[in-house]
């Protein structure tokens, strides 16, 4: 049985009290955990028991070890022994706070080596064993000396004093030198397989290259054609009337969250609001043709409505209520005088009315949405559009306000945003044509689009305001190389929207979406449609849930 890496990250966070990134390590890279800064890489193939022991050991370092101490003055053998003693020390400290982890460590130690093996790795492994298991007996003098020195130091200096332990480590390393135990740094690995390589502890003085955070704005070719350029329209293959161009409606600046700096970079993204190129009414006819060809005919969606108290609407003759319904009370008194059985329903209370809800469906219009669905002729974008139109159609009958917007991005300087169907507009042929005309291009910068969508929601009547994002993949853009960056930014955008009273939910058409979508939108606020064909039904269910929620 395995825990997901998300669960391990939460587990590590709880034990260590600081955020730790837990990531899988590909198997060819070794079967040992690597702790670098606050990043823990774990071999993906190990099982739950190993993962827990590895996380606990890394947490022990994070809680109790001093990271990156200069290693210059120490010989390799000294580094190995100091590391081994440090491992034992921090594990003991962790076991003091979390008694249950002892059994994880004890059960994951290297198997007891052959007592006749007096090589360096075998001796260290035996030392690990006696320091971990108080009842374990070993007949080697050096191993027993290690145990004695360790216990004496615990008694005299306490476990927190890492300098005292470093002193005994030097003594032990010196002894090994005198015993002429050969140490081969090239082939030595820490014997206990759950322990990391201890690179966390040392600073070997190598010049570190700072992570590349440069935004590749200067790259030639990274810029799209100018928004008014007719090239944009040429990417499609539909019949284009002359002069079809996307009309730019306005430019807006939004901040973006930088997860490394842990702050918002002000005015970082430019959202360009546009109208898709007008292509006449042909896409409507095409849509209708496509819809009639689809084998799965979609039933109109019946959506439940959100309700709330409405004082203008009073329910009379109730069993319970705030006020006595005077007419009913008079009848009760009359009935009593006539010795009839009075009707006990004599109260009034305010009724419930449906509350205004505004739902904005935000479509991901990135290049990848043009991929055909399961080998069919229709693209994912077509399914997205069809589902959104269906939802709009079912909402049009009710009083809910509904809008369909879409976005794509090409670097932070150009996040395109299309208002395909505005709030309060009827879903008529021109809107259908506009929706049909919009194409999938470029990338997915979710955060900026969400911020812009949330700013549109601000003008909607307060009540239920929700944004429903339909996407087919993780946020990405060509000027961002850190896969976590846009995910974290989108997560912040969702949090900002929530603070402004706008709920956000997501439907991801990507079976691998679980990992990032939940991080961005939170538990319950997303669903993963493995199959694009289930999208319309899921969209309806999600929007119903959003409308019904508080």
């Amino acid at each position: 049985m395995k825990d997901s890496f998300a669960a391990l990250a939460l587990f590590a966070r709880g034990l260590a009290g600081v955020d730790i990134e837990v990531q899988p390590l590909e198997d060819h890279a070794g079967r040992r955990a690597v702790l670098a800064g606050k990043r823990l890489l774990l071999p993906a193939s190990a099982d739950r028991r190993w993962h827990r022991a590895m996380v606990a050991h890394a947490v022990a370092h994070l809680r109790h070890s001093r990271p990156s101490r200069p290693a210059r003055t120490l010989k390799p053998i000294g580094i190995a022994i100091v590391s081994a003693i440090e491992d034992a020390r921090v594990e003991r400290l962790l076991c003091r706070d979390f008694p249950g982890v002892h059994s994880w460590f004890a059960g994951s130690l290297a198997p007891a080596p052959d007592p006749l093996d007096l090589g360096f790795a075998a001796l260290v492994s035996r030392m690990d064993r006696v320091l971990m298991l108080p009842a374990w007996q070993d007949d080697n003098h050096w191993v027993n000396k290690a145990r004695r020195l360790f216990d004496e130091t615990v008694a005299s200096a306490g476990l927190e004093d890492c300098d005292a332990f470093r002193t005994i480590a030097s003594i032990l390393a010196n002894d090994l030198g005198q015993m002429r135990v050969r140490f081969d740094p090239q082939h030595y690995a820490v014997p206990a397989p759950y322990r990391d390589d201890n690179s966390y502890l040392w600073d070997f003085g190598e010049a570190e290259t700072p992570p590349d955070e440069a935004i590749a704005l200067q790259q030639p070719g990274a810029r799209p054609p100018a928004p008014t350029d007719a090239d944009a329209a040429n990417q499609g293959d539909g019949p284009l009337p002359e002069g079809a161009a996307e009309l730019e409606l306005g430019r807006y600046s939004y901040p973006e969250w930088d997860r490394k700096l842990e702050r918002l970079r002000p005015d970082w993204c430019t959202v360009i609001e546009k109208l898709p190129a007008w292509q006449g009414l042909w896409p409507v006819r095409e849509q209708q043709a496509a819809a009639s060809n689809t084998p799965e005919r979609l039933a109109p969606l019946a959506l439940p409505r959100a309700r709330q108290l409405d004082r203008t609407h009073r329910l009379r003759r109730q069993w319970e209520g705030d006020d006595v319904d005077l007419n009913a009370a008079i009848e009760v008194l009359v009935d009593r005088r006539l010795r009839l059985r009075p009707d006990p329903r004599l109260f009034m209370r305010p009724g419930r009315a449906s509350r205004p809800s505004s739902v904005l469906v935000l479509l991901d219009l990135s290049e990848s949405a043009n991929d055909p669905v399961h080998g069919g002729a229709r693209s994912l974008l077509d399914v997205e559009k069809q589902a959104a139109l269906l939802l709009a159609g079912s909402n049009a009958r009710g009083a809910d306000r509904f809008a369909i917007h879409g976005f794509s991005s090409n670097t932070r300087a150009e996040v395109y945003y299309y208002r395909l169907l505005e709030f309060g507009r009827p879903l008529e042929a021109p809107s259908r044509a506009v929706i049909g005309a919009v194409r999938g291009r470029y990338s997915t910068r979710i955060g900026a689009a969400l911020r812009h969508a949330a700013s549109h929601m601000r003008t909607e009547p307060s009540g239920q305001r929700a944004i429903l994002l339909v996407t087919d993949g993780a946020p990405s853009d060509i000027d961002v190389h850190d896969p976590e960056y846009l995910i974290e930014d989108a997560r912040m955008a969702v949090a900002e929207a929530r603070e402004a009273g706008v709920r956000t939910a997501c439907i991801a058409v990507d079976s691998a979406a679980d990992a990032y979508v939940r991080r961005i939108f939170g538990w319950r606020n997303y669903c993963v449609a493995d199959d694009a064909r289930s999208l319309p039904a899921r969209l309806a269910r999600m929007s119903a849930r959003l409308a019904a929620a508080n």
């Binding site: 998300a6 669960a7 939460l10 709880g14 955020d19 059994s103 705030d322 538990w523 508080n550």
Partner: protein, 272 residues
Amino acid sequence: MNAAVPDPLAGYRIEAEPFYRPAGNEVALYEQAYRHRMPLILKGPTGCGKTRFVEHMAWSLGRPLVTLACNEDMTASDLVGRYLLDANGTAWHDGPLTLAVRHGGICYLDEVVEARQDTTVVIHPLTDARRILPLDKKGELVHAHPDFQLVVSYNPGYQSSAKDMKPSTRQRFAALEFDYPHSGLEAEIVAHEAAVGLDLAAKLVAIARCSRELKHRGLDEGVSTRMLIYAGVLIRDGVSPRDSCEMTMTRALTDDPDMARALQGFVEAQFG
């Protein structure tokens, strides 16, 4: 009090001393606030002892405590009272707030933000210098009894901004901030309340500490002191620590499988 007149708040009096272990100077501060009958907000996470604190203070001040758990469907008449029909016609029945105002109790509105904002405005004239409660349906103006005090509790942690106190309501109150007590004290409280050993209580507290690190990382709130007491009670009764923690903490706190795994990890890190 005149023995001939039955005490309308007799049912609200607290006879036995409720157990409360102060974490700071909150008892002294409350007593000072009560001397001036200052309205109070008790803020803090779920299950950290806000209600117990106000019970303890009501007991030590010898005042009856009228507690009302607020909810979204609560109306102003649920607080102040309403007309009901009896044999002679309609008769006014005081609501719990009016009872406390008339007869000098401490009225405690638990989770006050859960009530709708238009309901909470009825407390406005009570919580300033006027100290009056107009019963508009009855046409009566109730002047608060000199011993009356209003206390509300509120958990700033998990409410969305859609549910927040109006600034005009907030400004009428002085506030005491509560949090989970520090480890040693919390272990003592758990040991006392669940009647378990201090070392077991300390282990439970350590689990709670880990879970509280996950606040805003998938948990709205970590394991509360109350949950620890539940877990301790079950363990005392012979349920295995793993099962009782699973039941009272992990499953109670989350539905998310990853989060449940992490919480189970914390339990196993203590109990093996």
